[in-house]
Point group: C2
Chain length 318, copies 2
């Protein structure tokens, strides 16, 4: 981040026609965004939403309420503009694109060994890296992949230990027996991939999926391009957490867009010390919560960059 | 509300390409809005933001961190487009107008007797009533008035009892001594106006202010026109609460836009059984939090009315 821009934004914030601090988190958001964009009075002109899709071998274990063919069906729905993320991206004025990654070749069932080879995970990371528009000024990454809450739970468990049940939840809507099965599958996954524990990139390879790897690649690229990121829900955050575990501070350019109804998301956000902007009980994925949160950031920037100062407006200070 | 439209919206919601319930509160919001608009697949085309301003005799007691002339200065700032609410209204695509009410005649100091006569409070209610565009499809009301957190605290105390200190807070930024003073002034106000306790319209007249009365009038008019309302922070909610106290259910057409940093707001919202859409620590007033929350409702309606159904998209259900 650009410390001169941050200081300039802080100074401007103190001069705007409002009591100090009265815009709460909007003020912090604007200053954070200004610092990353290197502009004390920034604009959001080119937000980008990237959706990555992958299929998971572990779906054959029956961990999802939906059949695996829904991944490719939903990719078609994204392409035709019919999904929630299409509407939320349009509302936010964001350019959205969908990137299915080798859907015809699911990852391997991670309870039997690594989900991906080194070459496969690197290829998926590269898909994410390349998908980022270097001229974007805000990035949201989302995902679609039947079975991927189980994959995300296994990644989170590898990164942060705890019990397998700390990281599993209802996903798209499994019942209690489904949660018990997911928990067993996560436990089996860690046993089958002992090298994944406490090794973030191995966790991504052995327990993750192509869409998780692509999200991590995109978030890393955004960091290098000084493009602020709004994180989505549990799966996005688990993918992002591999970066933070590998390089502490790697997510300083990211805020949490929303707190998912998936209970493990809260645990993950607490670990990352990120307070979600929205808490609306969403658990859809697709980048939906993060895309909705673009509007909050837009509100913060509109106030910061377009309000009058006390001097300009002739208003007496407090 | 229109129960056929509600049922139609519920049915549509169940057919959209997402797991049941995966959009969380957005689903409830869309169905609520559909019912009030009488349209199972509604649009938001004409949101309106009304800002009312009033001056308070009680400001002479030193209850605010800002001098009373800031009210008229901020009205000019609203008129020239320089305030936070101007930016947030524009972002939400809302038509905003500002309505100063007899600023040259502050209400009487309510520690000495009623703030307004019957004629004065009725005139202020009428300003709010008349300001509502009957063709609006969403309403936000906000306020400006140096001293009005004290007025709102006194109104809330009259409506809901408790201790005076339950209802007082930092407002625009007073210190601990300022809070103690506000609490004493609220206590004095109730003693000077015994008829205000448990009589909502007398509370509005004796302890409220012209902008509070106008907000109440606008919210009541919106109810009759089936225009859904997003409530702003503590002062707006205190004004609205007079309606609910007078006629239980009078705020069924309203949702809470945000939870203010002003601690009494949470208590008031709990009484009204309304969970705020946003919790971002705002404490500005002006309708700012509610205007920001328009974006959340817009997201809900965009998903509800524009997503494909499972059948349209050829996606397998869960």
């Amino acid at each position: 981040p650009d410390e001169a821009a941050r200081a300039g934004a802080q100074e401007r914030n103190g001069q705007l026609t409002k009591p100090p601090g009265a815009l709460g988190r909007l003020e912090d958001l604007a200053i954070w965004y200004a610092a990353w964009r290197g502009d004390a009075r920034p604009r959001i002109n080119s937000p980008q939403v990237l959706i990555f899709a992958g299929n998971h071998g572990v779906a054959s274990r029956g961990v999802s309420a939906f059949p695996p063919e829904v991944t490719v069906q939903m990719v078609a729905n994204f392409a035709h503009g019919g999904a929630a993320i299409n509407q939320l991206s349009a509302l936010a004025g964001a350019k959205m694109s969908v990137h299915p990654i080798d859907l015809e070749t699911p990852t391997a069932d991670f309870t039997q060994g690594p989900a991906m080879s080194e070459a496969e995970v690197m290829a998926a990371i590269a898909v994410g890296w390349e998908a980022v528009d270097p001229d974007a000024d805000l990035l949201v990454v989302g995902e679609m992949g039947i079975g991927n809450t189980t994959s995300a739970a296994a990644v989170a468990h590898a990164l942060l230990s705890g019990e397998p049940s700390d990281w599993t939840g209802r996903g798209t809507g499994v019942d209690d027996a489904g949660i018990a099965l997911k928990t067993q599958v996560v436990s089996d996954g860690l046993k089958a991939n002992p090298g994944a524990a406490n090794d973030p990139l191995q966790a991504l390879r052995c327990l993750g999926g192509r869409e998780l790897a692509a999200m991590a690649g995109a978030i890393a690229r955004a960091r290098l391009r000084h493009i602020p990121v709004i994180l989505d829900g549990f799966i996005c955050t688990a993918a992002a957490a591999t970066l933070e575990s590998a390089v502490p501070g790697a997510l300083d350019h990211a805020v949490a867009g929303h707190g998912s109804a998936e209970q493990a998301h809260r645990r993950l956000l607490e670990h990352l010390d990120k307070e979600p902007l929205l808490q609306l009980g969403l658990r859809l994925g697709e980048g939906s919560g993060a895309a909705l949160a673009i509007q909050i950031l837009r509100g913060a920037i509109a106030c910061h960059s377009d309000m009058a100062t006390f001097a300009e407006a002739g208003v007496a200070g407090g």
